[in-house]
């Protein structure tokens, strides 16, 4: 079906001979030259300009319908978010009409490492993006781990726009059939990241998504969609605690009061953050024996950093809350004692000092009058 039309055209050409094409080139030499080198080089002019039959031809040529050959793609576009874009939507991405190159050609506008710039023609323009109710995503993407790998290092397997959004059948992320609909995000990312997908699916977040919980985080909830960073980067590590804490607010508060958090806040990354203990994709509740923080695995988890950690060591609570009298009575009463000690000692001596100062001032005035 897909090749049916070109074959027919080729058959027609061979019957008509080269006369028709040569006729066109006598006026449209530039178009003809570039078309010869394009993916459509084997076609004749009239394969696309189907309404031109003889010379002289009408001044206003009718619109070329790419869909007469590329039927499937044309159908996909008409159902996509780009359905209403421009007079000739195909050319917005595929470039000048007569010099369209195959996707495998490094000069093609849709060659993987060129694609971001092609999409960026519109999506990198804040004004155009705003008109469509979108954010400008080109610059965050291009500096992301995907964008840098693809466009700077030329790593062709790195995700470009179409890897996640598709090419012709791009749907809004609010559309349940979209590859970027939140519930479909794990599967979309998982086409490349099969390992994390496997772990995520087994983890509590994946289980939540599976059972239809709307608030279940997907890949992009933590990694963002376009600004995805290497997880080895300090800047990323410094942000993760706040990211987890966006949902786990109580846990963030209790973590905040521990040595791990204090050190972490000073920009030191070699210290326990959420995922060092809880894992990242295969996060499981402590009650699950497979969890990194389950009773049986906890010592090993601590020992990742604290060599020689024992069972006693692992009774340290990285989320201890001195306000929680029931769970942490010793810590709770220690905090009360320390507060009273501080207030008592400093308050008492502050008063003592003030009284002493006032009395001393008076004495000195007295002396100076002697």
């Amino acid at each position: 079906m897909k090749w049916g039309a070109p074959i027919l055209v080729a058959l027609g050409l061979s019957m008509m001979g080269q006369a028709a094409a040569t006729d066109c080139l006598s006026c449209h030499q530039d178009n003809g030259t570039s078309a010869k080198a394009s993916v459509h080089g084997s076609l004749s002019c009239t394969s696309c300009h189907t309404t031109i039959h003889e010379y002289p031809h009408p001044q206003t040529a009718t619109k070329v319908n790419c869909g007469s050959c590329h039927e499937g793609n044309s159908h996909d576009i008409s159902g996509s978010v780009h359905a209403s874009v421009g007079v000739q939507p195909c050319l917005n991405c595929h470039g000048a009409a007569h010099s369209i190159l195959p996707a495998s050609d490094p000069k093609s506008t849709i060659y993987p490492s060129n694609l971001p710039a092609t999409c960026g023609n519109c999506h990198g323009n804040a004004q155009i993006a705003r008109q469509a109710g979108l954010k400008e995503v080109y610059s965050p993407y291009i500096d992301s781990i995907h964008g840098a790998a693809l466009t700077k290092d030329g790593l062709l397997v790195a995700a470009s726009c179409s890897s996640c959004h598709g090419s012709h059948k791009i749907l809004s992320k609010t559309n349940k059939a979209s590859r970027t609909y939140y519930a479909n995000v794990p599967a979309t990312c998982g086409t490349c990241h099969a390992g994390p997908l496997r772990d995520y699916t087994a983890g509590i977040h994946g289980q939540m998504l599976e059972s239809g919980v709307d608030s279940a985080p997907v890949c992009s909830s933590c990694h963002t969609a376009h600004q995805i960073s290497s997880v080895e980067k300090t800047s990323w590590k410094m942000k993760t605690t706040a990211t987890c804490g966006g949902c786990h607010k109580d846990e963030l508060t209790t973590y905040h009061d521990t040595f791990h958090a204090q050190v972490s806040a000073l920009g030191y990354v070699e210290v326990a953050r959420c995922w060092d203990c809880h894992g990242s994709h295969a996060i499981l509740p402590a009650s699950d024996p497979n969890s990194k923080i389950s009773a049986s695995n906890r010592v090993a988890t601590c020992a990742k950093c604290h060599t020689g950690a024992s069972a006693s060591f692992a009774t340290y609570d990285p989320h201890a809350d001195s306000h929680d009298q029931k769970r942490y009575p010793a810590l709770h009463y220690s905090a009360i004692f320390m507060n009273l000690l501080l207030a008592g000692v400093l308050g008492f001596f502050a008063l003592h000092t003030i009284l002493w100062f006032l009395r001393s001032r008076f004495d000195r005035k007295g002396e100076s009058h002697d």
């Binding site: 905040h256 000073l266 024992s310 220690s334 400093l346 100062f357 001032r361």
Partner: protein, 288 residues
């Protein structure tokens, strides 16, 4: 600043009368105080950014000095030096009491152990604050000197122990449950705030900034006090030593000017550094 005892002393020396000086602290005690000053400032400087790590200045400070690694290195170094000084002091006291049988260190006017006179002095001083009685006559150590001493002693023991528990947790959890490490951090931080708050306000005022001593009491730096200061500050001790004839064994030449200026510089810098840190602490404490 033109009033107070120092004026009397300067006037006396101008008049040609020799200013008599008496030893109050030994060279070892002066060095010990110096070590405590430096290590305490070092610990406070590196500890406050940790305790208040979410304050804006903490991150800036950490960045400026080379990060958390640097901070922790100097915190631990200061702690180790202070610990050695503390243990040296304790060992010295024990040696003097047990071997040299100086029981006066355990009980009496030369001891830091509180006695009844400290309590009566305290209440008498309160009365004096309100014009209800005369200023009490203090002995070698006034009650606030003892409070200073025991506050620092207790502070070093508690902060030190909880600090070492966090420094060597794998070792300490052989003796205490790991959950106590949560309490160790709490106590370490709160007790440190108390220590910093106490030293940089109460101790500074009691010893240096109060009007009679302003801007600084140089005794701990030079080891000597003038006869005038001795009589005013420690009248009971002065009279006792004068009566027993021991006073003259403590007589010493006036401290050289370079020593006094050195004391003013070091002590002044310590006071200023302390007050700056106190300000940052208060700001962070309010915003915490």
């Amino acid at each position: 600043m033109t009033e107070g005892p120092s004026v009397h002393i300067e006037e006396a020396s101008k008049a040609g009368a020799p200013v008599r000086n008496y030893v109050r602290f030994s060279l070892a005690q002066r060095y010990l105080h110096g070590i405590f000053v430096l290590t305490f400032l070092g610990l406070a400087l590196t500890g406050l950014p940790l305790r208040f790590s979410h304050a804006g200045w903490a991150l800036k400070f950490a960045g400026a000095v080379g990060g958390f690694g640097t901070i922790l290195f100097f915190h631990k170094t200061s702690a180790a030096i202070m610990s050695v000084a503390f243990l040296t002091h304790v060992a010295n006291i024990l040696y003097r009491v047990v071997v040299r049988r100086e029981f006066g260190l355990v009980w009496g006017p030369d001891s830091m152990v509180p006695r009844l006179k400290d309590f009566t002095d305290f209440f008498a001083n309160l009365k004096w604050f309100f014009w209800l009685g005369p200023k009490p006559k203090f002995d070698r150590y006034a009650y606030w000197d003892k409070v200073d001493y025991w506050a620092v002693f207790w502070g070093m023991a508690i902060i030190g122990l909880s600090g070492y528990a966090m420094w060597f947790p794998q070792f300490f959890v052989k003796f205490i449950p790991g959950s106590w490490l949560n309490i160790a951090l709490l106590i370490h931080g709160e007790e440190a705030i108390l220590a910093v708050g106490f030293i940089f306000t109460i101790h500074y005022f009691n010893t240096h900034l109060r009007p009679q001593n302003f801007p600084m009491d140089l005794t701990i730096f030079t080891g000597r006090q003038t006869e005038q200061e001795f009589k005013e500050r420690h009248p009971v001790e002065y009279e006792r030593l004068a009566k027993s004839g021991e006073l003259e064994t403590l007589a010493a030449p006036e401290p050289p000017l370079w020593l006094k200026n050195f004391a003013r510089l070091v002590g002044g810098l310590a006071v200023v550094a302390g007050l700056v840190m106190l300000y940052l602490l208060v700001v962070a404490f309010i915003n915490d």
